[in-house]
Symmetry: C2
């Protein structure tokens, strides 16, 4: 609970219209896109500039109040739920694109800019910002940076981290620092830029970012390949990369996912097949033609039963949109949808998909799998009902086994969703105690009073869980 | 000075043949490639595996002995001089390529592998490891990782950091951790991988690294463009990028550099021109043809007086080798050569080159400039004589002004050489006190007893210097 004095202090900083602590507003910011996680904030503040952000941080530091920076809250790891109450800080007034620099190929932006709007602004200049998280229609770029968001184009173009060149950051002590810049090369000290990308708001608050852009690829093409055998699809993925072709996207959908996506999007996906690959290549016209030909040949050699190239960009966009809607489509089927992102080296995709299916059978739970096969980033998605306690127990056990299997195959517990509150109890599987301890040292160095998004990344207890009891 | 007991302890760990403390061996490791920096170690140890590395670290931690990991010592920032004595740790027994994984496109390597050997091993499989520091014939990959080395291909392909996917690290407390993996996407906690890349051996010792590889480009072509006007050359650089072409390399040499390089390499470079651009593009045959045509046209439009495409790969390699020899060539002219790497956004290249020339005149010192124009990473190189005290004073003043100018133009004090002991007094120009303080917090968290490469990155005094008095 905030005292009257603290409320007055915060209101004086951001203005009364940018401070809210009604029950209704608390409720709105008590959850994010993660099912089954909810915690009430004490208040919501929306600073109008970085100086106000710094003042809010100083106030929270002085009174040891938890502070949770939040974009649109589309994350799936309970990354922005205020686990220990306190203040949720919104970027809604920091919503300006500062500059698109066509000579240095950079965009400088405030954190509250919508991801898709940023992508479109850049594309209007013939430039390209590749990271494309499935939530990009709703998400904010500041949230993407905090979570190091991935997306469909990660295979060829990397993730958010690979495009962040410089940051303006308000540290937990209220100091404002700048890291990096419009510089392809900069080794002046530790790489704080990348340390902050993906730090989930636990080290400070990002108030501006300079992002790298690249020239817009000349053209792109999309292929759909259908399989009667999951193994054959996984083998195709490996063979494409091993033949030295790196497609822009290489997406995998299993049969249950195809069915619900088709039901949801109605674009004529074949629901009778066991697996589908959605493959896209971009680049110069000639390269794309050749790669798509070679890719089609590899699909054929690996027992695809049908291969079709999207005839128009509209057809291709319909396929991409359908794929991006997978979560929404799945979410309609059962009261509770738990989407995970266990990730393995791409050579282990087939093993991982098989293991997921075995684990689902073992624990008698329903798991569909789709995801970014090209970079080994799978989304096993459990359709369940949180009210069914015995089933939820089994869901937890199944996911713990999935995470352990991913790590055993040289993978990780989370490829692009982040640790948040949801995966904190599993972090040791990937890092070991010494690794966690090293990270806690970093956290302690930046945030000695643990005010920045407390309760995230590092688990208090070792109780494993993908869901909390409602 | 090491006590007899400590020497025995270290000898017991690595074996007597891998412990040295003779005057001769101390002398060999008292300097690196940085002129005018020298400091004597107490002993040199060469552990045979990571367990021995961890034992050495524990011994040094217990007795608070400085520990300096060192590859081939080719760095130019006094990054591996043992400023406070102690132990120099060599990677000579950790010199194995562990695996080239053609399915996941990775190489896993020990730190003591020679950079060029690694590149050649990878190319033999039709794969490509792009970072190509000029010292690559001598340097070790572990040193490249510690320094986040750049190179000629940085413009298109990025730097060492962009290729490090996972590390095995011995922490200052002797614990061994693993970060990342063969994973394009991994957000399990803070990005320790990138934090360690470029940390100059101040946070721990890297004992293994997994590096990303990409398919070998189909072909490459090299263009040489000559200018009677430095501005025109700089303008060409900006125009190429603004026209959405990202060449592999885009190197700039001014007249004094051309002259000495030609004298050194004798490959027929025209010494009468004011500036030269060496431009290379790689990719598919058609893309390369088109880009080289477009680049040539842009050179012509921007007043290049001569444009020639290298006819054979041998000719192109001669040009690249000549460019890489710039430092060696310049080093023959005067007793002392100080090569710097002030870096600016590429749009500011022309301003920066002009500023360097003005500053050289102002302080009456001889500075040649060459470097990676495409990424704004310039190498102003001062030819001087350390015995000439008054001139050295002026050299220091000139470089301080160059660093300040680079920062004023949105740049940095070091693009690819690192901070080391040499640039530590200038770090605040780029980071400010709050930024340095944040980095010192990280250092303290990992290395509370300050045993890892002490005296680097963070300046004890605020005395500015690019050289120390001999």
């Amino acid at each position: 609970m905030l005292t009257k004095e603290i409320k007055q202090q915060l209101t004086a900083i951001v203005g009364p219209e940018n401070f809210a602590d009604s029950k209704a507003s608390q409720l709105v910011y008590s959850f994010d896109a993660t099912p089954q996680f909810q915690a009430m904030p004490d208040a919501i503040v929306s600073p109008r500039n970085k100086v106000e952000v710094a003042e809010v941080v100083k106030c929270c530091s002085q009174h040891r109040i938890p502070l949770v920076p939040r974009g649109s809250g589309t994350n799936l790891s309970a990354g922005t739920t205020p686990q220990q109450g306190g203040i949720v800080l919104l970027f809604k007034h920091l919503d300006q694109i500062v500059e698109i620099d066509e000579e240095n190929l950079t965009i400088t932006t405030q954190p509250g800019v919508n991801t898709l709007e940023l992508i479109e602004a850049v594309e209007a200049k013939g430039l390209f910002y590749p990271p494309d998280p499935s939530s990009m229609k709703i998400s904010q770029i500041g949230g993407n940076i905090n979570e190091n968001s991935g997306g469909l184009r990660g295979l060829k173009y990397g993730v958010t981290r690979d495009y962040v060149m410089g940051l303006e950051i308000v540290l937990p002590n209220g100091e404002i620092i700048r890291t990096g810049g419009k510089l392809a090369k900069d080794v002046a000290g530790y790489d704080l830029t990348r340390l902050f990308v993906g730090s989930e708001g636990t080290l400070g608050i990002i108030t501006e970012a300079t992002l790298k852009l690249i020239p817009m690829p000349e053209t792109k093409k999309t292929v759909l390949a259908l399989y009667e055998d999951i193994d054959a699809a996984a083998r195709t993925v490996s063979k494409i990369i091993a033949s030295r072709i790196i497609p822009t996207t290489l997406e995998f959908l299993d049969q249950p996912t195809i069915k619900v996506v088709e039901e949801f999007s109605n674009i004529g996906l074949p629901t009778h097949v066991k697996a589908m690959l959605l493959i896209e290549q971009d680049g110069s016209t000639q390269t794309v033609e050749k790669d798509i030909e070679d890719i089609s040949e590899i699909c054929r050699e690996n027992e695809a039963i049908e291969i079709s190239v999207a005839k128009t960009e509209a057809d291709a966009e319909a396929l991409r949109t359908a794929r991006r809607s997978a979560l929404s489509a799945l979410a309609r089927l059962k009261p509770t949808t738990i989407l995970e992102d266990a990730t393995v080296p791409r050579s282990e995709i087939a093993k991982m998909v098989k293991a997921i299916n075995q684990i689902a059978r073992k624990y008698d739970v329903e798991i569909c799998t789709f995801g970014h096969a090209g970079d080994g980033n799978l989304h096993p998605t459990c359709l369940t009902d949180a009210r069914n306690k015995p089933e939820m127990e089994r869901v937890e056990q199944a996911f713990e086994e999935i995470f352990q299997t991913a790590v055993d195959l040289g993978g990780t517990i989370t490829g692009e969703h982040g640790v948040g509150a949801m995966k904190a109890p599993y972090l040791h599987l990937k890092l070991g105690e010494a690794g966690i301890s090293a990270m806690q040292g970093v956290k302690q160095a930046f945030d000695p009073y643990n005010i920045m998004n407390p309760g995230k990344m590092f688990a208090k207890s070792s109780r494993k869980r993908v869901v909390v009891s409602p």
